[in-house]
Amino acid sequence: MDDLNKLVAQTAGRLFGAHMSHALSLEAEGGAFPRAFWDAAEEAGLTLAMVPEAAGGVGLDAEGWAALIRLAGAHAVPLPLAETMLANRLLVAGGLPPRPGILSIAAATGALRLICEGETWQLSGIAARVPFGRHAAGLVVVGEAAGESRVAYAPVSMGTVTPGANLAGEPRDNIALECALAAEDVAPSPHGPEDLEAMGAAVRAIALAGALDRVLELTVGYVGERVQFGRPLSKFQAVQQQVALLATQVAAAGGAAGLAAQAIAGQPDRILVAAAKIRTGEAAGIAAATAHQMHGAMGFSQEYALHPLTRRLWAWREEFGNEALWSRRLGADILRRDADALWPFIAAA
């Protein structure tokens, strides 16, 4: 498994390196989908990273697919790779075949409902802020219906897309759906909407760690090159202390990303997901502020490569539940227990 993980990570690293550029980042944000990049990523099998080999996938373990998501985060890859990975994982977990092409995910909760009427299945309502919804061929929906968790596949062409975006300019689109689903596109699922939320939060935590890796790298590089008062910024103690602080946050997020991968390797562990999303979210805020401070006005400009990363930090920390949401849940869980159960709870996490 280690060899396969390494091989796929190397392939992905080369692929991301070859296709990504600051210009591509800006173009994607302007609305151009990097089709060639997507095709190459799909060709390399990245979209099937979470699907077992027996089901036609690549069958990486959690460490393997997490490395891909972290790397994609570091490169600010403007593709729904993690979403498509998760969508295929959910399809296969329900016994449905994985799908080629761009997929996205949505939970049938709140404004979107998965309805069973006799033999027929229907999706009704609005799937809100669907990642890359306008570009997706299909939407994988997880919901509770007829007394069970279900997974369903719906072609996006059956819905009406209203475009939106997150702070990083990544598509987050509303899709209005009033459609009947093919019977063979709905199946009982081991994962309900809560699991989808946990998986989404975990992959965002991992992507945050990746973006943070790169933010640290850019910052270390910049303060080493930028000369003021006759010496590089990196020679000023005040700057060293700030970059060290940044590194501690990046490190905490790196550890949290490992927990996130572990948390959703099987049935999601919501305690670990909470810990990972809370910690990476907090690291993101501190790191973005510190990195911008170290970059001065340069980091604030459109032409410099920091903002695609920092704006992703600010966007991803909110998605699939921010620190407020997950920490309230985790805190409520703890406060329901006896105080003396706190340590056993932490030690078992």
Binding site: L216, V243, A244, S327, G331, I334, L342, W343
Partner: protein
């Protein structure tokens, strides 16, 4: 560039059994300790408790059997340690010897030193203090001025060590002293010093809570026999740096305020609200992640790696976490902390508030650690 991965440490198969054994021991042994006493955990000195730990084989547990050890892994030791600290057990008596003096003796000690001392440490009968800091030498350890002047059959020591925790209880000190005058790093050597040696005077230094852990240790024409040299003459600096590495990244670096967190949960659980849930959830998340980082570093050390950068990061993050707990607690509960209060929460809040400044000083200040991190990143 260094990527912070912190891979999960492989926990030993008998981890759960060991944890259960330690919890049962603690439930029986320290049942009577009040929350205020528990809050003092790793500054709590109790020689009886240390002997009981020694009898269980929980001191020097990674050491070879011939030195009284159990030859268990660093992760076994980690489990015992974190259970002790989370429960607020009084570990101060054996703590320094178990963590750093014993390992230093194992690395640099002569066979005679090792045979004489290590089994007694493991039995919980022999306690150590650290002879590094001086009045003029804190973070700048290489500025140490205590002289160990070569004389016939040994050394004559003159000088003063400061902030010597439990110097008044310890049997031995590992002393850092200058054997060659004039130089900085090159002229330093380490010595194994019997604290009963004539010419040594220990004077108490009270801390800001009025408690006595620290001391000032004076050496006045103290004769040390040649065989008390630890390691090679002139290697003191390198040896001390190795010793300090044992001081970083362990669970003691983020559990110092854990008793307060427990008491805070007890108070908040009476009437939870959004603010308290959010604060407790956030602190729990930080703690879960810190444990991951810290156990990962323990795993790296066990695998023979030298994760200096990662260890410095864990200590810095841990100190920030420990220090913010009292500040968060006081914002969640309208109260006035007091050591004399009848409420355990208020006692512990008072004690932890007064202790907190030390968390980012001991074992390397925040600024020194961040300097180490900056160096690890290639900035200096």
């Amino acid at each position: 560039m260094h990527r912070f991965d912190f891979p999960p440490a492989q926990l030993p198969e008998d981890a759960q059994a060991l944890r259960a054994e330690v919890r049962a021991f603690l439930a029986e042994t320290i049942a009577a300790r009040t929350p205020l006493e528990r809050a003092q955990s790793w500054v709590g000195f109790d020689a009886d408790f240390s002997r009981k730990m020694g009898a269980r084989g929980w001191i020097g547990m990674t050491w070879p059997a011939r030195f009284g050890g159990q030859e268990r892994s660093a992760l076994h030791r980690y489990i015992v340690l974190e259970e002790m600290l989370a429960a607020g057990a009084p570990v101060a008596a054996h703590w320094i010897a178990d963590r750093q003096s014993g390992p230093a003796l194992m690395r640099y000690g002569s066979p005679a030193q090792q045979e004489a001392i290590l089994p007694r440490i493991a039995a919980g009968e022999c306690f150590f203090c650290i002879g590094m800091s001086e009045p003029g030498s804190g973070s700048d350890l290489a500025a140490a001025r205590t002289r160990a002047e070569p004389v016939e059959r040994g050394y004559r020591v003159n000088g003063t060590k400061l902030w010597t925790t439990y110097g008044h209880e310890a049997h031995y000190m590992i002393l850092l002293a200058r054997t060659t005058p004039g130089e900085r790093h090159e002229g330093l050597s380490q010595f194994l010093v019997d604290m009963a040696t004539p010419g040594i005077t220990v004077r108490p230094i009270l801390d800001i809570s009025g408690a006595h852990h620290f001391n000032e240790v004076h050496f006045e024409d103290v004769f040390l026999p040649a065989e008390s040299l630890l390691g090679q003459p002139g290697d003191g600096w390198a040896q001390v740096m190795g010793e300090l590495a044992f001081e970083r990244s362990g669970p003691e670096r983020f559990l110092s305020s854990f008793t307060l967190l427990t008491e805070l949960v007890r108070v908040l659980a009476e009437a939870p609200n959004t603010a308290s849930e959010e604060a407790i959830g956030r602190l729990a998340a930080h703690l879960i992640v810190l444990r991951r980082l810290s156990t990962s570093v323990a795993g790296m050390l066990e695998a023979g790696e030298d994760p200096q950068l990662d260890a410095a990061v864990v200590k810095d993050l841990g100190a920030v976490f420990e220090q913010e707990i009292p500040e968060i607690a006081r914002r969640l509960v309208a109260c006035e902390p007091s050591l004399g209060a009848s409420s355990s929460f208020l006692n512990v809040l008072a004690y932890t508030t007064l202790s907190a400044p030390s968390f980012s000083l001991r074992g390397g200040t925040r600024e020194i650690l961040r300097g180490i991190i900056a160096r690890g990143l290639g900035l200096r």
